[in-house]
Symmetry: D2
Subunit: 364 residues, 4 copies
Amino acid sequence: MKNTFGSSVSVTLFGESHGPEIGAVIDGLAPGLPVDEAFVSAQLALRRPAGKISTARREADAFRIISGVFEGKTTGTPFTVLIPNADTRSADYARSAFRPGHADYTAHVKYHGFEDYRGGGHFSGRITAALVAAGAVVIPALKRKGILIGTHVARCAGIDDAAFGNLAVDLPRLNVLPFAVLDEAQGRKMQAAIEAAAAEGDSVGGILESAVTGLPSGVGEPWFDTLEGLLAHALFSVPAVKGVEFGSGFALADLRGSEANDPLRNGPEGIRTLTNHNGGINGGISNGMPLLFRCVVKPTPSIAKDQLSVNGETGEEETLRIRGRHDPAIVHRARVVVDSVTALTLCDLLAQRYGTDWLGEDDA
Amino acid sequence: MKNTFGSSVSVTLFGESHGPEIGAVIDGLAPGLPVDEAFVSAQLALRRPAGKISTARREADAFRIISGVFEGKTTGTPFTVLIPNADTRSADYARSAFRPGHADYTAHVKYHGFEDYRGGGHFSGRITAALVAAGAVVIPALKRKGILIGTHVARCAGIDDAAFGNLAVDLPRLNVLPFAVLDEAQGRKMQAAIEAAAAEGDSVGGILESAVTGLPSGVGEPWFDTLEGLLAHALFSVPAVKGVEFGSGFALADLRGSEANDPLRNGPEGIRTLTNHNGGINGGISNGMPLLFRCVVKPTPSIAKDQLSVNGETGEEETLRIRGRHDPAIVHRARVVVDSVTALTLCDLLAQRYGTDWLGEDDA
Amino acid sequence: MKNTFGSSVSVTLFGESHGPEIGAVIDGLAPGLPVDEAFVSAQLALRRPAGKISTARREADAFRIISGVFEGKTTGTPFTVLIPNADTRSADYARSAFRPGHADYTAHVKYHGFEDYRGGGHFSGRITAALVAAGAVVIPALKRKGILIGTHVARCAGIDDAAFGNLAVDLPRLNVLPFAVLDEAQGRKMQAAIEAAAAEGDSVGGILESAVTGLPSGVGEPWFDTLEGLLAHALFSVPAVKGVEFGSGFALADLRGSEANDPLRNGPEGIRTLTNHNGGINGGISNGMPLLFRCVVKPTPSIAKDQLSVNGETGEEETLRIRGRHDPAIVHRARVVVDSVTALTLCDLLAQRYGTDWLGEDDA
Amino acid sequence: MKNTFGSSVSVTLFGESHGPEIGAVIDGLAPGLPVDEAFVSAQLALRRPAGKISTARREADAFRIISGVFEGKTTGTPFTVLIPNADTRSADYARSAFRPGHADYTAHVKYHGFEDYRGGGHFSGRITAALVAAGAVVIPALKRKGILIGTHVARCAGIDDAAFGNLAVDLPRLNVLPFAVLDEAQGRKMQAAIEAAAAEGDSVGGILESAVTGLPSGVGEPWFDTLEGLLAHALFSVPAVKGVEFGSGFALADLRGSEANDPLRNGPEGIRTLTNHNGGINGGISNGMPLLFRCVVKPTPSIAKDQLSVNGETGEEETLRIRGRHDPAIVHRARVVVDSVTALTLCDLLAQRYGTDWLGEDDA
């Protein structure tokens, strides 16, 4: 399905960095979900660049919802949101040598030179604004069902954030922070490191750690459409994500079964595990514990340093110096994108399990 | 689509650990692929348990191909392979307390107690035999197109294998090894560590590292159906895989853009990169470099130690001691499963890009 | 998805006329559906040829359910049924000139000569036995939910059956008749006409008319996945079906809006329409009235007369005289196939709307 | 997938009759297709109401392509077209009793009262403008590959058009006619009959007959994704279509096999059939002959006569007199919608068979 993801609830993305508008269609939304435009704006603001640690490109993100909402609530028919691209400076992006670490070369091969190369075209991180707007419609609906999603910058430029503590406290707090860390002092160090890299014309990467609480047990499938598989499928669409791990993830390689198995207990909330090395998932299916996963975000490929590359027109090797406006780090901005694709993926799985209307309200 | 994966080429898995037969259907295969039953057997042998480091369950894996092959070649219509379950001892698996780290509890919630719990039922690693048989039909076809896939046990029980060297040498060599490592001495240490864990009634995990050479550039999609996303979706179906990373993966968090960007060169093979931190993928699309990815395999959850758990019938907490036959490690057996799902996923993407018949031969 | 149909509940078909076994996998079935093997046998018997009006090929249809059922009930994991092909006489089916009206030529083009041509291979009506077995698992489950499906031979060889009367009486009666007509005298005339055609080495066609009662309103989608579109998609898989119409169908061309619009009334059963020209569907969505649709079944293409054709090996034109065993009509046998694909399609739509478990029972 | 159709090439529809804009996204288009905006306008003009035989609603259909086109050609990434709704008069459409023959009631049930009821909302025929715009991008691309599509009003208000003659002449001629008939005199009679019905506040239906020439043989699948099944699935999305038949369709019920089988010949164009009762399809797969199919279009449900209905707010039965602007017939306007969905469906099947790039041009 290419640029569409999901079965019962699906999202389709379209647009280019320098086109007039980008957007998303969500199909299969339950009818009757209140659409809070202020929350959509707030989520878009979290994704928007800000301060010295981001690109100078400034977009108002004056989104327009053009279908699927009537009298402030979703209708159940396709929801479409458009976001205009206002601050485009195409002259900055004349067709140059392929930018290393970007999709310029692969797009050129795949699309035979017909691709809109300006600012990365359809591959631009700009498109994630539409994902965030789409996610902002379902995040409050999941919250009404008791399902909370949150993400922090667990590591950036070699600096670690604190570990998750009480998720009921951590997640709401993280969700409104512009630079989402649990330990503010560590966050300041990360931002200083980003600025330092920027000053050198370079960029840094990081790790995002996410948690979801309140997800019912029994969601996901044994083969192929495992909860891990579907989430990872979606998360690898977040630009620059190159790895996804659940629970203790790669650290499980060095544990023994007697350490990694999460013992089961039957308490007041029902059956739960004492530890959560499996990240809330066994056999591809949610077990009622918090979902825990981590995504690595590579350093932004756009840097202001000389790089070796090849000119797509001539095939000649040349030294490339990227101009234009760039982010010295995107891990902190990718955070809200991760939350959004997580929310959309969970809505799909919940709709598959409980039906079309489960997420919605009572009759109008 | 649940237990089916793929769009142009899809695979459907069925069966239970203690049912009469397990199997797989591949739909969308190119017509005219030679089916080498000896190779199917050889691949199944690589997955089968052997020696002290595996379960004592022994299956002959006497597969039968019941559709989609005529006069030794695929017909283009659905290919079905069945593998009988011969050595089942259901008495070993009476409904007990939920086994920690297994899907017993999540299956119970999802299927409301109707699940076939014997030996893990549909969740059993046994089902991967059908995946391996399915993969064994397409691996030789990819090879004829110059696409080679191979995997080694990069780490097990805290012991590292050597790094990939010359893939043209490494991959064919790995593909016939029962315990696939590049450094045999390290492999012997790993096996000793597995035996030591087994002697304690415990189990160990590890990391599989895979490479694919010869994949054309231009395969994959910018959003959602990225090459990373689709491979990860499939790889998380390999039981016990809890993390997937591409290229330098989680290590990218600590690199700078100037290090992580792979410089482009135009050489005799066409445009290639000098390094491969991106694992052969940019913007979700193959770039002509080797695909590189790693999967973490958690320690086998079946261990011969007392564990805390809950009885599904009574809801009582109890101490569980799992009996029956178990693997102290599965990372080495999972290797051929990883190769198989990789092969099936790539066939799908190649068929989407180049059409139904690309993988096949000329007319009969 | 080719040989797979359905989203939440999907069915995959495999096998060839002269292979060892044919079969079907249903994925996404609710857990806890009782599987009545006697009913599966009874449905298969309705599809099986019998008497002078059918092919002399006799299959015991000794099906085996090899996955997805435990202690007599569906588990919720993939359900697989296999049916052996016992009475195959491949010598009857040496590769001959392409049989007119069959798929021989199109299969040859599509599969480049690699197709299993024996008895039509994967295109054979024989494969519908697997569809019937699959349908026989869900028809009783729908019935428990108050949803009844039934079909009669509305026309055959130019002879009309009576019209539907009281569906609550008609449907159960039809469902056990070997030659399903409402007016037995007309049915005898039809059978005599079939025998007369057979005596001339020829074949006849007909029209099947189906009704579904008890389907909840609100099932189906406005665009693309309309109830008509999905049912038609599935029904055109019934071999020889070349047209599908809903409600008054093609007769609507000659009605005025004031005649074709079904007036709405609010009675004891809720809102219903006075007439049913729309066949229970408005805007692609069920309206609570009985679904009504008709399928035309072309005359069996296998006839015992000389026909002009082309030899696939030589490209020469030649006169073909088909030998082997054939049906002078299949409309009466196709009836149970129509019911089966209807049932499977409705299960999918109901699972999409109400969730995975709706069709199932309470907990085990 | 609900409001999305297609696998390799998919189309997603969104928008409501009285929303700001409607639109469509096509994903999977080959890169390098020239986009002829004048042709898009011309196709939209064929769909637009005109003269006394159509609604008085007048839309300029000033479409905007906002993604997927660069320098006049498709890029291969999602193509999005928006069409503003300019001439909306929502006051005409206050929530009234459910209009008989419309989707008002079924939408109300499905969406629990949250539907945008104004002018039929997402169910409005207005949405087909987006389908026509989408189709207008691929129709010229198919033509460059030698594939021509055309449709005539074969019957309207009881008046028959002439039969297809030489398709190479008929199809191009039909494609530019505002009222597409082969026999102009019959067309004038039809229009007079439509005007007469309109004068009585009533509406009429009809039959559209379509032909496709130049489609390669070997396109379509044996089960489920048959060429008939996929086309019918799409065609039933054209509002008011209630029946689809291929080749001789329902008339096959009364033919014998010896009449209905199309004899094969091997001529200068390759293997063809002498007759075309099967409408260019055998076993679900194209056979190289023209595709032939017919759709019945019911009389427009909006009529200016008193009708019995039920008020959705109160549940009371009442007499409804629809006001606003309506079409006394839509069969002539639906023609270009049928061509568009046919073109989109064929593009998908061709891309599945021959790969992503087949429809496109050489490199830029």
